[in-house]
């Protein structure tokens, strides 16, 4: 089957076609994809960027008496007519330039300068920085990304090799079981685990009993909460790496493996020198996906009710937009742009590497 489809088609698609395809043909070929990407990805990003440059109009306030079941008080109200008039004149709001990016909720340039002048040493400077929510969230997000990503790569490969070495009869069941964590919706899986580790849940209460400490609580301790979030992150994304590597393992050439065995390489040496290099393009792909996803970690933070211990840029965007009566669009937009910037910075080394490999192969 594979030979019939993949074999004869490959030369046309990859050798003659790509190099010989005329620019005009290529243009018509990708036009649908390109226009969808411009319409649904590029333009919204531009609009978010524009939104991040404007803040709301000055609110016109009036003081009036308000009365209810609990008596009367003088209270401030918004003069909606006057405010609506301002809004009509400038629908986007007041131009604020890049100031939102540098305010206290984001890069906090003024606050950092202040901390720098006030700090007495490195540790007091770091304490001061950690008091700013953007940097606090960034530290968690980066730690999460750089702990979860390599662990998922390593364990994913290990599980894939393990399953690949099983007798054929058991493989189907093993694949299904290994995929389960991925099939459970993030929000459901983390909710279940969150209830289990609760002080009143089966794991939480058992831990309290074992250590005989009724104050021991995963949800009350920042380090324990971080560990739990990362363990959950590894558990949940492992199947993605596993199934990709498992598919890759099916394409390792038998001849090369045999040659390695004839040369006297043991299993471990074969793994490191033959299998892993063969899978490298897949490793780059999985790394790209994991870096992107992990940097935007969101659902586990909500389900574990971890707000006290861990926040990410994504939770800030949601809370700014849900600021009930006063959604902070500029702040949310600025955080979105900074998230995109963060993802780009994270991906650059992997992309450069992939580009170099590609060029090396092409020449």
């Amino acid at each position: 089957m594979k030979g019939a489809l993949g074999g004869p088609l490959q030369p046309i698609g990859f050798h003659d076609g790509a190099h010989a395809m005329k620019h005009r043909t290529f243009f018509w070929f990708i036009l649908p994809t390109l226009s969808a990407m411009i319409l649904f990805i590029a333009l919204p990003i531009v609009s978010v960027f524009i939104q991040s440059l404007f803040v709301q109009h000055e609110q016109v306030l009036v003081v009036s008496e308000s009365c209810g079941p609990f008596g009367c008080v003088e209270e401030t109200q918004v003069d909606t007519e006057a405010t609506a008039k301002l809004r009509e004149e400038q629908p986007l709001g007041r131009f604020n330039g890049l100031a939102t990016y540098f305010d206290r909720s984001h890069l906090a340039s003024a606050e950092i300068a202040e901390v720098w002048h006030a700090s007495t040493g490195l540790s007091s400077f770091i304490d001061g920085i950690m008091d700013l929510k953007f940097y606090k969230a960034l530290v968690f997000t980066l730690t999460y990304t750089f702990v979860v990503t390599p662990l998922v790569l390593i364990f994913g490969l290990a599980v894939a090799v393990g399953v690949n070495n099983l007798p054929k009869a058991f493989r189907g069941v093993a694949i299904f079981i290994s995929l389960l964590p991925f099939l459970v919706a993030t929000i459901v899986g983390s909710m279940i685990l969150s209830w289990m580790v609760d002080g009143e849940g089966i794991i939480g209460a058992t831990l309290q009993n074992i250590f005989n400490d009724p104050s021991l609580s995963i949800k009350a301790s920042t380090p324990l909460m971080w560990i739990m979030l990362m363990v959950y992150g590894v558990w949940h994304t492992l199947p993605f790496a596993f199934i990709t590597f498992y598919a890759g393992l099916q394409t390792v050439p038998k001849d090369t493996l045999e040659a390695a065995r004839v040369d006297g390489a043991n299993k471990w040496q074969t793994m490191i020198n033959v299998v892993v290099p063969h899978l490298m393009p897949l490793v780059s792909f999985v790394t790209l996906m994991l870096l992107m996803d992990n940097f935007r970690v969101f659902e586990p933070l909500v389900s574990f009710q971890a707000e006290a211990h861990a926040q990410s840029l994504s939770t800030f965007i949601v809370s700014d937009l849900r600021e009930a009566g006063n959604p902070l669009y500029a702040s949310a937009s600025a955080t979105s742009m900074l998230t995109i910037l963060g993802v780009v910075i994270l991906l650059t080394p992997v992309l450069i590497r992939t580009w170099r490999d590609f060029n090396a192969k092409a020449h």
Partner: protein
């Protein structure tokens, strides 16, 4: 087919006749679309409006759900609006009025509201903007059997007495963490601060301005009071909201709680708990703090509004339908589901806490346009203090800085 449908409609109409005749539902054939939060008292009020006036209306829909505050402004902004009425509370009326999305109700009150008490009318700048039907506040829940067993006399009335009682319960080995309170990071953390800040005599804003005023001696006193309670609170308190605290209470895992009055009915009923817990649970006024006389609570009301961006006749029919249910009959039938503000309400055991708290002079939750921004700043910036990572002064300075940042963006501060 048509005849069958007509006959069916006739049968339904005659079945509902008894109720429909009693109520004046305003212009007929209009559209009534109600949005509200999903809890028992609102189910009762919306249900009564439907029973009375659905036959008179051309369209009658009710949507009760969670987190209505996050979508009500968007729902009322288009013209015609998605709903003709939103059932609001103090804070959500403010957020609708900030955007000018609700209409004055004076003419409808004159026409359909003869049975309403004057104190039910929420009047702002001389216009009736909402009609309140129930009150709510936080207050103290106590387990008399546990207090007695630990040698505590009577029900604690001040925070200092609550803390002393908790210490006795812990010392007697009955419970390690006898106190529960809603301390979930975010809205609840902000609200708990409000309670004890008001009890200590604080004002959130400098008079007549949007300038923050929480980094003050009252603010520091409030945080000290809260910390003294948290010493005895369940270790997971930073993830506890109403559902979690009610669950712990009903499971018999707490002896004193600061919870919402609206949970009283559900705590005292015969579901979800044991007789030992329910028969010994007493609801009383919120405790006072720091030698003051103001209970640590905020008073809330829930009431009906009518949307601005809808045809006038739909608005009239909506108002008539909703107030048709706010009668002594409805209240008698559902006495324990809410602390009703309707004429002739007799508070039962489930309402005792809110009634006592209001009588002792608790403050209403402020209806100020920028209160949401302050509440959110409190909810996120005080967490470092509760975790023990920061001093009270630093945490309150952070609150003011965070509030200033968002108030500037929202146009309330320059």
């Amino acid at each position: 087919m048509f005849l069958k449908k007509a006959a069916l409609a006739g049968a339904v109409a005659s079945l509902m006749g008894s109720a429909a005749f009693a109520a004046d539902c305003g212009p007929s054939g209009k559209s009534v679309r109600i949005l509200g939060s999903d809890f028992p008292a609102i189910q009762v009020v919306a249900g009564a409006a439907e029973a009375n006036c659905a036959a008179n209306a051309g369209e009658f829909t009710i949507n009760l759900r969670d987190n209505t505050r996050d979508m009500m402004n968007q729902a009322l902004t288009p013209n015609p609006a998605e709903y003709t009425s939103v059932i609001v509370a103090n804070s959500t009326l403010t957020q609708l009025m900030n955007d000018g999305l609700v209409r004055p109700l004076d003419e409808y009150v004159a026409k359909y509201g003869q049975h309403l008490k004057p104190s039910q009318l929420i009047t702002i700048g001389g216009n009736v903007m909402a009609v309140a039907f129930m009150a709510n506040s936080q207050h103290l829940y106590s387990r008399t059997d546990v207090l007695e067993q630990a040698g505590v006399e009577g029900i604690p009335a001040t925070v200092e007495e609550v803390v002393a009682a908790a210490e006795k319960i812990r010392a007697a080995g009955i419970m390690e963490h006898p106190i529960v309170m809603n301390m979930k990071v975010g809205w609840n953390v902000g609200e708990i601060f409000n309670l004890f800040f008001f009890a200590n005599g604080g004002e959130l804003f400098k008079p007549g301005s949007a300038e923050p005023n929480v980094n003050s001696p009252e603010g520091i006193a409030a945080l000290g009071t809260i910390k003294s309670l948290l010493e005895y609170a369940h270790p997971d308190h930073l993830s506890h909201a109403s559902n979690e605290t009610q669950g712990l209470w009903e499971a018999g895992k707490a002896a004193m709680a600061i919870m919402w009055g609206s949970r009283g009915g559900a705590v005292l009923d015969d579901e979800g708990s044991s007789d030992e817990v329910t028969s010994n649970t007493v609801l009383s006024a919120a405790p006072t703090a720091g030698g003051g006389s103001t209970p640590a609570a905020t008073l809330w009301w829930d009431g009906v509004t009518v949307a601005k961006n809808i045809p006038d006749e739909d608005a009239e029919a909506t108002f008539a339908a909703l107030v048709s249910g706010l009668t002594p009959d409805l209240m008698e039938e559902h006495n324990d589901k809410a602390i009703w503000l309707i004429e002739g309400f007799q508070p039962g055991p489930a309402a005792a806490g809110v009634s006592a708290t209001a009588a002792a002079g608790a403050k209403p939750y402020p209806m100020i346009p920028f209160i949401n921004l302050m509440h959110n700043a409190l909810g996120s910036e005080l967490v470092d203090f509760y975790k023990g990572d920061e001093s009270a002064e630093d945490a309150l300075a952070d609150v003011e800085a965070a509030y200033r940042t968002s108030a500037k963006e929202a146009g309330f501060l320059q």
